[in-house]
């Protein structure tokens, strides 16, 4: 593990600790994971696929009238969607230019 990886991991940990004072532990944990994903870089493809799958499961639970289970899967679907979009955001920033940016 190189030094920059250690720094990135430490930043994620610090964010988790700070956020857990303001948000729920689950939300703080997720935010920290999300940050780690963005810092370390990940292919958004998997995140989108998982989000898709989880939302389909949520739909199935709605059919079974299990609303709280559906809500649980929808939240996790949303989390993975967020990972995918933010990973792409990170890629966009790293690439530095956008095709539609005039200036």
């Amino acid at each position: 593990m190189d030094r920059s990886s250690i720094v990135r991991a430490l930043i994620s940990l610090a964010v988790f600790i700070v956020l857990s004072f303001f948000l729920t532990v689950l939300a703080a944990f997720f935010t920290a994971v999300l940050l780690a994903v963005v810092l370390f870089g990940v292919d958004c493809k998997f995140a989108y696929l998982i989000a898709l799958l989880l939302l389909m499961i949520a739909a199935l639970f709605i059919v079974l009238a299990a609303t709280s289970a559906a809500e649980f899967f929808a939240i996790w679907s949303f989390y993975f969607l967020a990972i995918g979009v933010l990973a792409q955001f990170r890629d966009g920033i790293v690439r530095g230019t956008f095709e539609d940016l005039d200036s």
Partner: protein, 1013 residues
Amino acid sequence: MFRGILRGKRHYLWHIISIIVIAALACLLFYRHFSNPGTLLHVDMSFPTNLDRMYSTLRGMWYQYGSLSVVWNALSVLWLYPTLLLAKLFGLSSSTYLWLLFISTFALAGISTYALAYNLIGEFDFSGTWNYAAHVGAVIAALIYMYNPWSLGHLWGYFGYPAYAVMPLAFLLLVKAIDRKKLYLVVVLALLMAVTSTAPICIVWYVLLIAFYALFYLIITRFRRESVLGMLKVLLQTAGLYLVSCALWVVPFLGSQLTHKPLVPVYNQYFTKTIAEGLSASNSVLNNLRLSGWGGPNNIAFNNQLAAILSFALPLFSIFALYILRDRFFKNRKMLFMGVFFLLSILIATGTAFIFKRPYEFLELRAPGSAALGWVIRAPDRLLFFVPAFYATILGALAASIMRKRPPSSLPGDSLDDDAESAIKEEPGAAEGTRGVNRALLEENKLLRERVLWIDRFAFNSRVVVYVVVFAFVLLSLYPLTLLYANTVFNPTLIPADYQRVNSFIKKRGSDTRVVWMPFAGYGFTTTWAPEKRIGPFNIFGSYPSLYNLQDTYNEEAYLYWVQNFFSRAPGELAQVQILNKDVMVTDDTASRLLLPFDAKYVIFDASVKDYDFAGSFDKDKSLRKVFSSGTLTVYEVSSPLPLISAASRTVKVDSYFDNLSIIQKYGTDLVSRLDFTRGNDVAKQYGSLNIDDYKEYMDINGSFESGDPSTNVIPFWVLEDKSGNVKMFADNKVKVAGKRSLRVENTSTEQFSIGWVHGQPIPVQAGSVYSLETNVKLKNSIWTHVAMEGFSKKKNDWIQIAMCPTVQAGDVGWKKYNCSFLVPDDITKIRPALASGWISDKNSGKAYSWFDNIKLARVSTEFFQSIEAANAPPKITFKKLSPQKYKVHVEKATVPFVLSLGEAYDPLWVAKYEDGTTVAPVRLYSMTNGFPINRVGTNDLTLEFRPQRWFDNGFLVSMLTVLVLLIYLFYYWVQHGGNNAMRFKSFMKWLGRGALRGASSTWEYVTERTDY
């Protein structure tokens, strides 16, 4: 010509066709209007019934037809004013105008999305797609943006829809303005925002969009100095131009802030943490993703299983599209921002229901300024405004990506192509054998190419099938809700002609004739002529001036509710306290005196409103005279109504309006017209205030249950009457309101109407006395618990119930206090309180418990009535109506301070102003009208004024001038830089100028020649 256009870079024809298609698609929601006449009508879609009235809601800040502050309408002026002018120009009826307004705004949402989606699809640059792919994709995006559940639900309210409609366009303009930093783009953006900020929530939307995009822009440009400075310049210019263009609502807003009377809706005072949580309750992540968080008819997603499954189509296939287009997605800045903003919107729109609970609650209720502005974000569902744009554009882009040319079914030619053949033949020095090998290789290559082609074709066909299924699901998912809205919300309503007939009748009595409509709409009602709808107060808006008090829809203490509950006998509307046996207890000529605070000459009773049963209350009352009737509407004339502005020599502070009822029954109209009633403590004694509590003589009935031996359950003065053995009473020293004990009655019966009665001691009474009863009641798992006041009837020689205080209660209810009073009629000689303990509500929850405490029975002393009778006559008041917002009042010979009453709904921004500029703030009378305590005696002139009108008039001037200047600037810019069209326009103007000059000189020559003759 068309071929020429098609060959050009700009596909004008395709754009025109697309816009026509979008407009046609927009009409589908209103399809029933094409075959049936009628008006767009629903509870939040109540507009005045003619264009002049609509216009007056934009220019006047107080709307007299419903007694309503319409300061909020200042936000809609720039949007509705031009459309109303056009409607008047073309002579449209109000129903046609509304229909066109709704269709065009709805279509505008589609066109604006079309522009954004077309732009984005163009930037995605899908190679190999057909020419029209981008247009079709953009039209699909428009369709989704128009018909998604969020859009339909918010078109219903209309108030913020114009901003939603242009949001994609505003986003596109914002991006361009920040990129290019051109003033004309800033001007267009500011104007677009100013015109479409039709509700406070629209301002929140624009602020969120701009703030987040600015941050995003700075991140992607890595906070470079020139980016920061350029962006700040654009934002400051936009904000400045926007605020000046919106001076017509900015000035009233600032005025209200400076006078410490912030412009907040009346319901803001009832806005608590519980209500905030209730409003966020259905905004879970699951519902937000499906755009089903709002509680309107789109609850179909919760009630119908097929609809519930279909509601997942939009989010599921949007994620699918995101997955497919991910490689292009992150290269495009606009799309990436939309993705990030979509996520944020879903999260913020959970309000207090998810991880943002604490910050959201803080913003709503405790942050600095939240008292004035927190209510704007009360419904977090509205913060999903950008989510439909994301779904629409990503799905539109997916649709465009598939519209590519189909791979050929076979390789060109049956054998090797000619070039390959000739190459083999012409290969210099190649032996026959080698040639054979080459041929074999080429044949193999051909086979390979055919296989690749087959795979290409298979992949293409599979993709087409998958995408067709995807879009079929997406479109199908929009269908059920669209149909529901088309048939029950946006369908035409045929308003019975009776309303027009009644209005014509009133009109003959003068345009300022005030009326009272019964019943009061409250949260809206259903009628026999539109049973599928919840109707708003269109009759009030379309009728004559009235104290309908739409301001106080949520104020259940308002006198209007009390009056309605007094006359109405519908069980569903049973009030908390009621007088019973009205034929004995209430004289049959009280209605006109009860209606005095409305300052109305006529009562219009609408029998078409369902669930209200007035049981002929108005027909029976001798003080009302039936003067007109048409269909379900009946008009009664009120005897001796008060003018809109009057003076009261006594203002009585009462505990409930039953005190009012008891007092007015003792006196004739002359004396009653000198009185005002209030439930507040705002009127000081010097202005003639009388507090009824100061004149109560309490009876010794052991109503606090303190007397008696605490170790036994014998409670003096109270007797349990129960033969079944199911009911027992106890002195409870744990659950109480005050003192040491309360009375607890336990009922173990589950049988209906098996009530346990505890009677108080009979008390002899004198006819003409006023008695008041105060009770405190709590119940657990009980049905039908209540307190009755019984009176002994001489005629019937038996006890009869004369009042219920409270009326029947059920379930679990905490301690609540109830007040009632009554005038003792001739027939009643004795009274006694009777405590009713209800039977078990839920068998699984044990016994039924009812607690009673602090039962106070008092007689109002004769000194109180003497004090009313001895009051000086109020001064003579004359007034002149300058406008619905301003009255000139002349007070003649006031001998003592008094309260000046204005029969418009209470609003703290009404003010009374003396000629020297001294002002008097209003207090609430009857919990709903304005009273001004006047301390100057003698003869005085005052002005009663609704202050925001002056602020609006000043702001209106600034706004109009700014908009005019900006439009001239844009026109000038277009002429200078507008390309060919502008050049043609300039040439035309020059030609026109030259022609005019030539014409003028010829005329001059002709005139001078004629003069020479």
